[in-house]
């Protein structure tokens, strides 16, 4: 039997495609290499109860996977490092049913209209391949609105002066502001910034059969114990309820079979360890911007740009310690953000000119505290003062932070390919990441870091410090492994088959029935988390698929 579509990956991209295609009458098989802790195994239309407020389980022992011992990646900053300089975790997103949607704290901003036309509005950058997207904000807006309703997004209409136009209100009002955010909003506004409640996929009121968030505080890194978070649960359970979807968890796709201009299906290995072939009329790749190019390379798919233009967000973190407690362990991980560092001003233009760059852009700035005691404990030096530091708690108790998701420009040298020697436990070559921030990212970080520190001082911080992730910024630390978990750009979208890998519908230029539905297709990275934009693109790609191809009569 041939299914209408096999979908590789069950995160926000794959789940959205499964939802749209099953609603259109298609039969789909969703393949996920990780375990299912999201849907009740006895009834896949109900949520499971495996998630919990447990720092050891989710942070120290990677319950959501992948385990770097059996599914490692490798890293280097360039060819001068040799084959690789690090083996282990490299910017991994959870390998589990629901993918990155399970561990994220649910900030789901849209991109701004200009994010899709950087080349037209700002022009080129030396060394980078800045290009316009073949899809603009106006064309994507209905799909943004659709996925906001699907996952359930809380926000405040009109609160962000830089936002693009909306066709309708947010599905829910914003949730309660963190106490620390109330202090930082006032300080930021006094300095001329424009903070607003972060559009957040955490229910502020009961929504779509799921409860309101009860502010437990175990959000970033954690699955939601009460399913108040807008992970892909809603899309997956709807797909399952259609009767036209099958979920294959703990199943690894090792090859997309290609014959001429078409794929016939995928080779996969389930928990029994037996490799078999699954025939499909269409193949959808939604494994994320590191695993999707890896799978194309494992499939001997031939295009010189596969894996290139990896972007991850060069993060700048300004931290300060306040004289009072911030109670960051209560409620959402981030409730407020500002976009002023993306929009820029005369100072930013002067900083760009001084750095010899035509322009620079920072990223969305998240207002955040630190919530977790094991993480805090590991930050203090061991010895007799450790327990006193834990009680005084300058980090967990009184720290406030601004985290800027700095826009990474697309450089052909930042890429994913197959490591020449390192294998996963199944025997397949792993993804190797070659990444180094460019002059633009470093200049933007050096410009914005001190300005974020100034807001902390305005809040009354006793001391402040600026670091970057990965290193290489104004903190003086060496370049290293990125930790943003925002991977983008490795299977680029465009109209020219020599300068992009997929067409504006997400379809591979060279294969008529293979679509990429994750952040691999991003042309530029914007300064925002990729989730909502990748889900909107996935919804658009799935609607185009459904419109272009007739429905088969046979359910799974």
């Amino acid at each position: 039997m041939t299914v209408d579509a096999v979908i590789v990956g069950s995160g926000p991209g794959g789940a959205t495609v499964a939802d749209v295609l099953t609603a259109a009458g298609w039969s789909v098989v969703v393949v996920e290499k990780g375990r299912n802790h999201l849907l009740d195994p006895a009834d896949l239309t109900s949520p499971a109860s495996d998630f919990s407020n447990d720092e050891i389980k989710f942070v120290s022992r990677q319950f959501l996977g992948p385990d770097p011992l059996v599914e490692p990646r490798t890293f280097r900053t360039g060819e001068a490092d040799g084959d690789h300089s690090h083996v282990g975790d490299v910017n991994s997103v959870p390998s589990t049913v629901g993918g990155g949607g399970t561990h994220a704290d649910g900030k789901v901003p849209r991109f701004m209209p200009d994010d899709f036309r950087l080349h037209s509005t700002l022009g080129p950058q030396p060394g980078a391949d800045v290009a316009d997207w073949p899809v603009g904000y106006d064309e994507l807006e209905p799909y943004y609105a659709e996925v906001e309703r699907s996952v359930g997004v809380a926000g405040t209409d009109g609160s962000n002066p830089f936002a693009g136009p909306r066709s309708g209100p947010f599905p829910m009002p914003s949730g309660p502001p963190m106490f620390g955010a109330t202090l930082s909003i006032a300080a930021a506004e006094r300095l001329g910034y424009h903070p607003y409640p972060a559009p957040t996929a955490a229910n502020s009121v009961p929504y779509d059969g799921r409860p309101a968030c009860n502010n437990c505080g175990f959000c970033s890194y954690f699955g939601c114990p009460i399913h108040a978070k807008g992970d892909p649960l809603a899309m997956l359970r709807r797909a399952m309820a259609s009767g036209r979807a099958e979920l294959l968890a703990e199943t690894f796709v090792s090859r997309v079979r290609i014959e001429g201009r078409r794929s016939t299906g995928v080779e996969l290995t389930g928990p029994d360890g037996v490799r078999r072939f699954l025939a499909a009329r269409h193949v959808v790749l939604a494994a994320g911007a590191i695993e999707t190019p890896r799978l194309l390379l494992l499939s001997d798919f031939d295009h010189p740009l596969v894996g290139r233009y990896l972007m991850t967000h060069f993060q700048t973190l300004a931290v300060g310690s306040l004289p009072i407690r911030t109670y960051a362990e209560r409620g959402r991980a981030v409730t407020h953000v500002h976009d002023d560092m993306i929009v820029g001003d005369a100072d930013a233009r002067a900083a760009a000119a001084e750095a010899g760059l035509p322009w620079l852009r920072g990223g969305m700035v998240e207002y955040s505290g630190a919530a977790l005691p094991i993480m805090e404990a590991k930050h203090y030096p061991w010895g007799e003062h450790h327990s006193r530091l834990m009680e005084d708690s300058p980090i967990r108790g009184r720290l406030w932070a601004f985290i800027m998701q700095g826009e990474d420009l697309p450089y052909a040298g930042n890429r994913v390919d197959l490591d020449p020697t390192v294998r996963d436990a199944r025997g397949y070559p792993v993804a190797r990441i070659t990444y180094r921030a460019g002059r633009h990212e470093l200049a933007a970080s050096e410009h914005c870091g001190p300005r974020l520190s100034a807001i902390l001082k305005e809040m009354g911080a006793e001391w402040t410090a600026v670091t970057t992730s990965p290193g290489g910024g104004n903190a003086g630390s060496p370049p290293g492994v990125p930790e943003s978990r925002h991977n983008m750009g490795t299977v680029r979208m465009g109209t020219d088959p020599t300068r992009s890998v997929v067409d504006p519908a997400g379809r591979l230029h060279q294969l008529d029935n293979v679509v990429v539905a994750d952040s691999s297709v991003f042309v530029t990275s914007a300064g925002y988390g990729p989730t909502l934009t990748l889900a909107a693109l996935a919804a658009r790609a799935a609607h185009l698929m459904a419109a272009s191809s007739p429905v088969s009569p046979n359910p799974v």
Partner: protein, 157 residues
């Protein structure tokens, strides 16, 4: 010691002497703030997860299925080596000598420190943080589901 850090490390190193292995506590609640005491029901591991955790704890032991990227030294061996290097008289010598010995073995000391942080401030079901003493000492409420926090406790504490 009183907080149960050695018990935390024992339970990790001996995780596979339990069925299911005591790697990941259950969900969604512990019973400490309402709900059922479900943390006690540890998760079963998939074959791939068992391979990973046996490699991490026991090492590769010369088994080809664990050495696809070369030999792996497990936590059990690292503890055996580390404790032997600290000396059998470690508990009898003075505090300065103890610190000197710890500082001369930074790899083992760092491992011990990481596990001590987890054993002090992690959930009690893993063997440490006995009766929540670690959390109480720092004013941390621990796992708070299903109670959570009210909106007022979040915004105006």
């Amino acid at each position: 010691m009183a907080a149960g850090v050695p018990d935390y490390i024992d339970q990790l190193l001996g995780a596979f002497s339990f069925d299911p292995p005591r790697i990941w506590a259950g969900g969604p609640t512990s019973g400490r703030h309402g709900g059922a005491a479900a943390f006690d029901r540890f998760h079963r591991l998939s074959a791939l997860e068992e391979l990973a955790w046996r490699m991490r704890i026991e090492g590769s032991c010369g088994l080809p299925e664990r050495e696809f990227n070369g030999p792996v030294v497990g936590l059990q061996q690292r503890y055996r080596n580390g404790l032997a290097a600290l000396g059998e008289d470690f508990c009898e010598v003075g505090p300065e000598e103890r610190d000197d010995r710890l500082r001369s073995r930074p790899d083992f000391t760092d491992l011990l420190f990481q596990h001590s942080c987890e054993g002090l401030y992690g959930a009690p079901e893993y063997g440490g943080n006995r009766d929540g003493i670690g959390w109480r000492s720092i004013g941390f409420a621990g796992d708070v589901q299903p109670r959570g926090w009210t909106d007022a406790e979040v915004s105006k504490p």
